[in-house]
C-alpha cells in the first residue's frame, strides 16, 4: 500500500472475467499492461478475479469503494455491468477489453481489436511457408473474439492462393464453423485436435483457445515436425518451451491499449468512446519470426509490408 508521497498516485484496477488473472490469455495480457503502467508511470495497480457472473457487479463496486481512478474490465461478458457502472459513476474512468458500445460515454472506453487483420498476415505467411500445402486452425468456442482470428487466417491463406496460384488448404475453419474443442482450459483436447490436423496433413496450426492452445505445442513436439501460430501475445516469449516451433504470433496488443488508457488517466487525456486496435495503429500485428526468421523468405516479408499497406488503405479485405 502506498501512502505519504504516493498519496496522489493514480489507482488502476482490473476485473477479470472467469478465466482468472493468470490465464495465459487476455486477462493476463491486460494485466501486463497494468504492470507496465505500475513500473513506468508509478500508478498503483490492483485486480479482482471473478468466479461467476454474479461477481461482476460487486467486484466493480468493491473497486469503486476503494477509490480506483480507472477500472478496466476484461471480456465481453462484463459489457453490461461496466456500462451500468460507468453511467452511475461519471467521475470514475472505465475501460473494457473486447467490447464496444453503440452509445458514446465520456468516461467509458471500449477497446476492441481487428484481430482478423493480423490473422490475415499470419495466414499469408503460413500459406507461404507450408510444406504440405495444408494448414490448420482451431478454437475454444465459436464466438466472435475467437473466430475473428480464424476468419482472418483463412482470408490470408486464400489471398495467398489467389496471388500465387497455390492451393493451400485450411483445416478447422470454413468461414462459419470449424473445429472447436469446447473449452479454454483443456490442453489435452487441444493436443488431440492438433494431432488430428497434423495426421491429416497440416504442418502449421493456429490454436485460438487461451491456455488450451498450449496443447497444440505439445502435439507438434510429439509429432516431431510442424510449427504453430500463437495468438494474443508473442508466444516465442510467453511459452519459452515452444519457442522453437512458434512460427509467429497474432498479437492482439491489449497490454498496450490498457497501458494507453491508464496513461490517459495519468495525463488527464482519457477520452471515452471506442478504441479499435488495427494494423494501422499497431494495436494488432504479427510478431517477429524469431527462430523462423530464415525460414520465411525475404520476398514474403516484403509482401507482408505491402499487405499491411493494403489493409490500411482498404484495398485488401481481411474477411474471406
Amino acid at each position: 500500500g502506498g501512502d505519504g508521497a504516493d498519496e496522489a498516485a493514480v489507482k488502476a484496477c482490473q476485473i477479470t472475467d472467469t478465466g482468472g488473472i493468470d490465464d495465459k490469455s487476455f486477462n493476463e495480457t491486460a494485466w501486463n499492461g497494468f504492470l507496465r503502467a505500475e513500473e513506468e508511470l508509478g500508478v498503483e495497480v490492483k485486480y479482482l478475479e471473478s468466479t461467476s457472473e454474479a461477481d461482476y457487479d460487486p467486484n466493480i463496486q468493491a473497486f469503486l469503494d476503494e477509490g480506483c481512478d480507472i477500472i478496466i474490465t476484461v471480456g465481453f461478458l462484463l459489457g453490461d455491468a461496466t456500462e451500468a457502472a460507468a453511467q452511475a459513476n461519471p467521475d470514475t474512468k472505465f475501460a473494457i477489453v473486447d467490447y464496444a458500445y453503440e452509445a458514446e460515454y465520456d468516461n467509458l472506453l471500449g477497446m476492441v481489436f481487428a484481430t482478423e487483420q493480423a490473422g490475415f498476415l499470419a495466414g499469408y505467411v503460413s500459406a507461404a511457408v507450408t510444406e504440405t500445402g495444408t494448414v490448420g486452425t482451431w478454437g475454444g468456442i465459436n464466438i466472435p473474439p475467437v473466430s475473428a482470428f480464424m476468419q482472418g487466417y483463412l482470408a490470408g491463406v486464400n489471398y495467398h492462393n489467389d496471388q500465387k496460384g497455390t492451393s493451400v488448404e485450411v483445416l478447422g475453419w470454413d468461414g462459419a464453423d470449424g473445429v472447436f474443442i469446447g473449452s479454454f482450459e483443456a490442453q489435452d483436447l487441444g493436443n488431440a485436435a492438433t494431432a488430428e490436423m497434423l495426421q491429416n496433413g497440416a504442418d502449421i496450426v493456429m490454436p485460438v483457445a487461451g491456455p488450451a492452445g498450449l496443447g497444440a505445442g505439445t502435439a507438434i513436439q510429439d509429432f516431431g515436425s510442424g510449427s504453430m501460430v500463437w495468438v494474443d501475445t508473442d508466444g516465442y516469449i510467453s511459452n519459452p518451451n515452444f519457442a522453437g516451433i512458434t512460427l509467429t504470433s497474432v498479437e492482439k496488443k491489449m497490454d498496450n491499449a490498457v497501458f494507453a488508457a491508464i496513461q490517459g488517466v495519468v495525463d488527464g487525456t482519457f477520452a471515452g468512446g471506442t478504441y479499435l486496435g488495427t494494423v494501422e495503429n499497431g494495436g494488432v500485428d504479427i510478431s517477429p519470426f524469431h527462430d523462423f526468421e530464415d525460414a520465411v523468405p525475404d520476398d514474403v516479408k516484403a509482401e507482408l509490408d505491402d499487405i499491411r499497406a493494403g489493409i490500411i488503405d482498404g484495398s485488401i479485405s481481411t474477411t474471406p
Binding site: T51, N59, A62, I141, I143
Partner: protein, 396 residues
C-alpha cells in the same frame, strides 16, 4: 440387515419450530460450530503462511512473523465476516448466493431420499435458465404478475424435463442415473453454447454469445433499493417449505423414503419404485431448473455461456452438508452463501486468493461428515452418530 440405513423421517408429528430448534441447537449444530472453527483454524494457518508480509517479517525473526501473520489473518477474516453478515449489503450478497445454492441443494436432497444420486444439477440449471430466460425475453406484452410466474414455471418445467430423462431411463432400462446425469450435464453445456450462437437469441446487432435481455415484466423484483437481493430468495424459501412438506409430510414423500430405504419392502407395500424414481428425478430437475430460472430472470437478466458453471456441484455439497434434510440444506445453503459473499470481500479487501475459501469450505464439510476427526482434533465427545450415512451408495 440395514441397520446402517439413513434416519427415518420423523415418525410422529414434530412442529417445524421444534425441528428448527433441534437443527440449530442440537448436537449436530454444535458439531457444525466446531467444524467451522476447526476449518477456519486450519485456514488461518495457511493464510498466515502464504501472506507476503509474514514472509517478509520472517527476516526479522519468528516473533514479528507471528505478529504479521496474525494481522494478515485478522484482516482476512474480518473481511470475511464483514462481507457476509457485516452490513445490510453484505447480508444481501449472502442471500443472493444462497438463493441458487438452496435450490440446487434441494435438487440433490430430494432424490437422495429415494436412493438416487443427482449429479445432473448443472444440466438442469442450464435447461431451466434457457427456457425461463427464453420466456422472459421472447414473450412480450404480458404484465409482471403473469409474465414473471410464467417464466418461473417455464424454468421449472425445463429443468424437470432434463431431470425426467435420467429417471425415465433408469426406470425403463436400468441406466444408472449417475452416468446419464453426468452425460446430460456435458451435453447441455454444449447445447447452451450452440443456442447462444443463434442470432434469434442474441442481442440484435451483436454477435456475442449473450442472449437478449429478459424483459422487465419477467424480472424478479429487487427487495430493497440499491441491494441485489431479489425475490429469488423468497422463491427459494417458499420452495423449501414445499419440499419440506413434500419429503416429510406428503404421502409421496413417504413413498420416496421407502423406495430409497428398501425397494423390495416398498414394492411389497404396493408402492411403485419405477414411478417413484421418475417422480424424484423430475422434481429434482424442476428444483434445479428453478435455480437456473431464478438466476436468469433475477440477478443476471440474460443468458450467458457458462452461467451454470459449478452450480450443480455446489448443490451436491450443500445437500450433503445439510445431511440430506430440508432444513439442513437451507441452513448449509446460507452458510455456503455467506462463505461465497465473504470470500469475495476477502479477496477485494485483503487480497486473499478465492481458492482458499474453497479449501476452507471443503474442510468444514470434512469435519462435519466425519465427526471422529473433529473429536480427535478437539478431544471432545461429539455425541452424534459417528459417521452417519447420508447417501445410500449407488443403489442400483
Amino acid at each position: 440387515m440395514s441397520t446402517d440405513a439413513p434416519p427415518s423421517p420423523a415418525p410422529v408429528r414434530e412442529g417445524p419450530a421444534q425441528r428448527l430448534r433441534a437443527a440449530v441447537l442440537g448436537a449436530s449444530a454444535r458439531l457444525t460450530g466446531l467444524a467451522v472453527a476447526a476449518a477456519l483454524g486450519i485456514g488461518a494457518v495457511v493464510l498466515a503462511l502464504s501472506a507476503e508480509e509474514t514472509r517478509e517479517a520472517l527476516d526479522d525473526g519468528l516473533g514479528p512473523a507471528l505478529v504479521a501473520g496474525a494481522s494478515a489473518v485478522g484482516r482476512a477474516y474480518s473481511a470475511l465476516l464483514q462481507g457476509s453478515v457485516g452490513s445490510l449489503g453484505a447480508l444481501s450478497e449472502t442471500l443472493v448466493a444462497a438463493t441458487v445454492l438452496i435450490l440446487t441443494g434441494l435438487a440433490v436432497a430430494v432424490p437422495l431420499r429415494a436412493g438416487l444420486f443427482n449429479i445432473g444439477g448443472e444440466g438442469q440449471v442450464i435447461a431451466g435458465g434457457l427456457v425461463g430466460g427464453a420466456v422472459g425475453f421472447a414473450v412480450t406484452g404480458l404484465p409482471l404478475p403473469v409474465h414473471l410466474p410464467l417464466a418461473i414455471v417455464a424454468a421449472g418445467l425445463g429443468g424437470a424435463a432434463v431431470g425426467w430423462l435420467p429417471g425415465f431411463l433408469k426406470a425403463r432400462t436400468g441406466a444408472h442415473e449417475v452416468i446419464s446425469t453426468i452425460m446430460l450435464n456435458n451435453t447441455l453445456t454444449f447445447v447452451l453454447i450452440w443456442i447462444l450462437t443463434l442470432p434469434l437469441v442474441q442481442v440484435e446487432g451483436r454477435s456475442d454469445p449473450i442472449s437478449r435481455q429478459v424483459l422487465d415484466s419477467a424480472r424478479l423484483p429487487r427487495l430493497l433499493e440499491g441491494l441485489r437481493v431479489d425475490a429469488g430468495i423468497i422463491l427459494a424459501v417458499l420452495v423449501a417449505v414445499w419440499v419440506l412438506w413434500f419429503l416429510d409430510r406428503s404421502t409421496t414423500g413417504l413413498e420416496l423414503s421407502a423406495v430409497g430405504a428398501n425397494p423390495a419392502a416398498a414394492t411389497a407395500a404396493g408402492m411403485d419404485p419405477a414411478r417413484t424414481t421418475v417422480t424424484a428425478m423430475t422434481v429434482a430437475g424442476a428444483l434445479a431448473g428453478l435455480a437456473g430460472g431464478a438466476l436468469i430472470v433475477g440477478l443476471q437478466g440474460r443468458i450467458t455461456p457458462g452461467f451454470s458453471a459449478g452450480l450443480g456441484f455446489d448443490g451436491i455439497t450443500v445437500a450433503l452438508l445439510g445431511r440430506g434434510t430440508v432444513v439442513g440444506t437451507v441452513l448449509s445453503g446460507l452458510l455456503l452463501g455467506a462463505l461465497k459473499a465473504g470470500g469475495r470481500a476477502m479477496q477485494a479487501r485483503s487480497g486473499t486468493a478465492l481458492d482458499l475459501v474453497v479449501v476452507i469450505q471443503a474442510l468444514i464439510i470434512v469435519f462435519i461428515a466425519a465427526p471422529g476427526v473433529v473429536r480427535a482434533l478437539f478431544r471432545v465427545r461429539a455425541d452424534v452418530g459417528e459417521g452417519a450415512r447420508i447417501s445410500q451408495g449407488w443403489g442400483s
